[in-house]
Symmetry: C2
Subunit: 543 residues, 2 copies
């Protein structure tokens, strides 16, 4: 962790502002990235961080997901774009390592684990953003070799982060595509989708038929090129199928789920960094007097209640989001325990969306604490806010996470994951003891989970379409309930040991969350419970 | 209105994106603005719009504040930066016209009303952002001439929008400064502050001692230069005092209050434009199927409940904010009625902050409706969001509006403005009739105003410092209550006449506001009522 902190500060922070100005450039078909990012990542790789999360048998350090998540948070806070390359590449190599043949692992995963090759995930297409059943990229059989069944791919992918760059020696694209049926037509829906390994440079050293058709110019997160990638413009890109036919989405979702938690962790890290900036500024900036005082010297703005409230909201959002993501990482480490993996599945849409939504609010508050300065490009908080705005969108929007949580993970599940969560919540509530305010918080925590149960029971009986009318409010409320639980757990820890600033701060933050955030969560549940449907009854012409 | 719409579309919209890229530039001491903005404003002036809000006796069109507010909304939606020049210049000329001598009006207000000269407001200083008692700009008497008492000003002002530009022939700075006491020292606090007219070019055609020390580089709102202006680097800028000594803040607050409502109107207009973009995109973009359907063609995303909810939230925020600002403009038109001016005073912090806060959320939702496209600079919604982010900051942050509302306008007032508001709310509630859902909304509306009264009664008895601990939540809840009232008023209007899309849309929007927004307002009041104080008890070292 110390090495990571130093590296993040020495090499990731300095180029973050510059990579916001000097965007990746597409020239003569190749994408060029700010050289300082490449230099930072070389150092990152040399220190063994690229392979840190992999088993020693694969050449990694075998660090736990929890530790790797904390490492990632450091780098994401320092430079979310630069941190994105290893994050995606690691997840890519892990899919190949999990589902590939030994030859595929040796040829495509190992160079990725070593950090010599980077990886992408190619899902979306211009006509099919999040609706993957509608993809039209076609994979036609082209024989078989030592690397497995060989295919020729043709199709256009978009929103491909790191779709090309000049940092790594090669790029391994994992491409969702459809194998045509016997009649040559693509099968409708998601069933016919397989996953293919499509390297930029083929094992024989020649260029594959992969072209960068253009870059998207983003509001933030600019150090990573976002590419339109065309496969097979010259007849067909060579790719090898990973695993079985028709299992493409299943395999890809391992990568997606890992990326979703990483998105949440990144959003939390950006929120935390903004909070640190706001905290420092609020302690230094002199402005105004305390209420009721009219003379004397100006006070640091942290003396003002409104500024403190803005800081404490940032703290509960940023630290709460980090706690949530680290909790998920810890569950991921228990990969043999299916019940815990189900719990992880339940929490994944929350870990993706809650930090993204509330981390963005934290960054907004960091700007507000800075006043006019926060709106200028001389202060990092404005960039953090722009960077963080991507997080509620990529790897599944908040709306999609809400559908996933309420549908697949709750209403259409066997309910055991929620029971397990509930048991853990009750355990926390038992451990609060009888002393205020924690005892009251424990009761409030059980109360909000009771409300959630009632809401779910009502939704289960409701019209199955209408049940999703307010899914996003449900996700928000559920997220707040989960984070309230984590804050109470933290507060219990903070009551033991020395009575220092750190622990007093955690206790007040917990109290703040229960006093100022939980009432809002109840209101959001109330919106769900009222089955408010004005929006779904609204004809398009009535808007 | 038709002329304004055409002009806004033909000349204000086309340069909005470009002025975001080609920022104002400071070269050899002068600020250069995108020429297309100057051309748009020339056309605006030629059509008589610059002087539209002034009395015919001053060479204006004598249009009401309400009509001018609706005109401003058009231009602000089209290009918030370009619209800023006449907005500030008009408010500046109005202050001079209200408090200046005839000679001052003829020399400084009239050219401003004609649109030949532009105006600024110079309040903040590097050490005194919002704390105006701490300004150190000094104004020393330097004789008297036909334009009044003449002074020499020295001091540094910052955040000066349009502090220099190459559009108008001259710039009239209205500068807050202190006249030193007999001992030569500045008087502490706000009492000694006067207001001075400091033109860039003096009546004899020579340059005044006013220097542009630098520009701030903003995240958005980039078509207006934001300047650091130094007065008196070469011995003292010549200025004439406006009105009486020591009344500077009082005079300036006429301009400030006008600007605050204009900020709200601009924020509402940006929200509305984002909404229009999102609505069009949601009707065109095909993606996914309806819940429960697995085959068939993709549907426009407006078919999805979550997208509709995001659109309807934008509608209730944008149209609600416009209704609020237009209501305030209508009150401003009744300038002879002191009771209505008090009501305007009560609503001003709401009209400034509610559109700024919720308009920004609307723009965030407009991005979200666009998905990944909304995060790219090819779609206007990302710029609208960045532009709108200034509005919760300038002309008094949201926190400052909250202090103003709860303190000066409520707890420290005679309460008559709130009584008048309450009477109008009750009148609306009476007019809803007995039919659901409006009848229920009427009861809910009275309920939230009862809650507000109870909250205020409790706060009046509370510790006078602690009463402000959650002032910002109070402002938010109060704003929601006021906008709920306006939505109900709109719904009552919509129940009469033809049953068309427009009216049905308004009715559903009203219902949506009561079902999905009002529960949140109740939660915010609950936070205030719980006297949540964890943040104010937090020592700086505990954060």
């Amino acid at each position: 962790m110390d090495v990571a902190t130093r590296l993040a500060e020495d090499m990731f922070v300095p180029c973050a502002a510059r990579s916001d100005i000097v965007e990746p450039e597409l020239k003569d078909g190749a994408v060029h990235v700010l050289p300082e990012i490449a230099a930072a990542l070389r150092q990152y790789t040399e220190l063994g961080l690229f392979s840190a999360s992999f088993d020693e048998s694969l050449g990694g350090l075998g660090l736990s997901a929890l530790v790797c998540s904390a490492l990632y948070a450091q780098f994401a806070a320092a430079n979310i774009s630069a941190a994105g390359y290893p994050m995606l590449s690691n997840a890519n190599a892990r899919v190949i390592a999990a589902f590939g043949t030994q030859a595929q692992i040796d040829s495509f995963a190992r160079p990725g684990i070593e950090g010599r090759w980077y990886g992408t995930m190619c899902l979306s297409e211009p006509q099919a953003g999040s609706s993957l059943g509608d993809i039209r990229t076609r994979a036609v059989k082209d024989g078989e070799d030592a690397l497995g069944l060989r295919f020729r791919l043709t199709g256009n992918k978009m929103w491909i982060s790191g779709g090309d760059q000049d940092i790594s020696e090669n790029i391994v694209h994992l491409v969702l595509a459809k194998e045509p049926g016997p009649d040559g037509a693509l099968i409708e829906g998601t069933a016919g989708i397989s996953l293919f390994i499509v390297p930029k440079i083929l094992p024989d050293g020649t260029r594959n038929d992969v072209t960068i058709a253009g870059l998207n110019h983003k509001m933030g997160y600019r150090g990573v090129p976002n590419c339109l990638v065309n496969f097979g413009e010259a007849g067909g890109a060579v790719g090898w199928r990973l695993g079985e036919a028709g299992y493409g989405l299943k395999y890809m979702f391992q990568m997606m789920n890992e990326a979703r938690i990483a998105v949440g962790t990144g959003a939390a890290a950006l929120a935390y960094r903004g909070y640190m900036h706001a905290l420092r500024y609020a302690g230094e900036r002199l402005q105004g007097r305390r209420i009721g005082e009219r003379s004397g010297n100006p006070v640091p703005i942290i003396a003002h209640a409104d500024v403190r409230a803005m800081l404490l909201r940032q703290k509960v959002y940023a630290e709460g989001a980090l706690a949530l993501c680290f909790y998920c990482a810890d569950l991921a480490d228990a990969h043999g325990d299916m019940a815990l993996q189900d719990l992880l599945g339940l929490l994944t849409p929350v870990a993706k969306s809650w930090p993204s939504e509330f981390g963005l609010i934290a960054n907004d508050l960091a700007i507000q604490v800075h006043g006019g300065y926060g709106y200028t490009r001389d202060f990092e908080v404005e960039r953090l806010w722009r960077d963080n705005r991507l997080n509620p969108i990529h790897e599944g929007t908040t709306g999609i996470q809400a559908q996933d949580l309420l549908g697949r993970k709750l209403l259409r599940s066997d309910g055991r994951a929620l029971q397990l969560l509930r048991a853990r919540v009750e355990d926390t509530a038992r451990r609060v003891g009888a002393v205020a305010p924690l005892a009251e918080h424990g009761a409030a925590l059980l109360g909000i989970f009771d409300d959630i149960d009632e809401t779910l029971a009502a939704l289960a009986k409701a019209d199955p379409v209408g049940a999703f009318d307010n899914a996003t409010w449900f996700l928000r409320a559920f997220g707040h309930a989960v984070v309230a639980w984590l804050w109470l757990d933290i507060a219990i820890l903070a009551t033991g040991g020395v009575d220092d600033d750190f622990r007093r701060g955690k206790l007040k933050a917990c109290r703040f969350f229960f006093e100022s955030e939980l009432p809002q969560a109840r209101a959001w549940l109330q919106i769900v419970n009222s089955e408010s449907s004005a929006h779904s009854e609204m004809a398009p012409s009535e808007f």
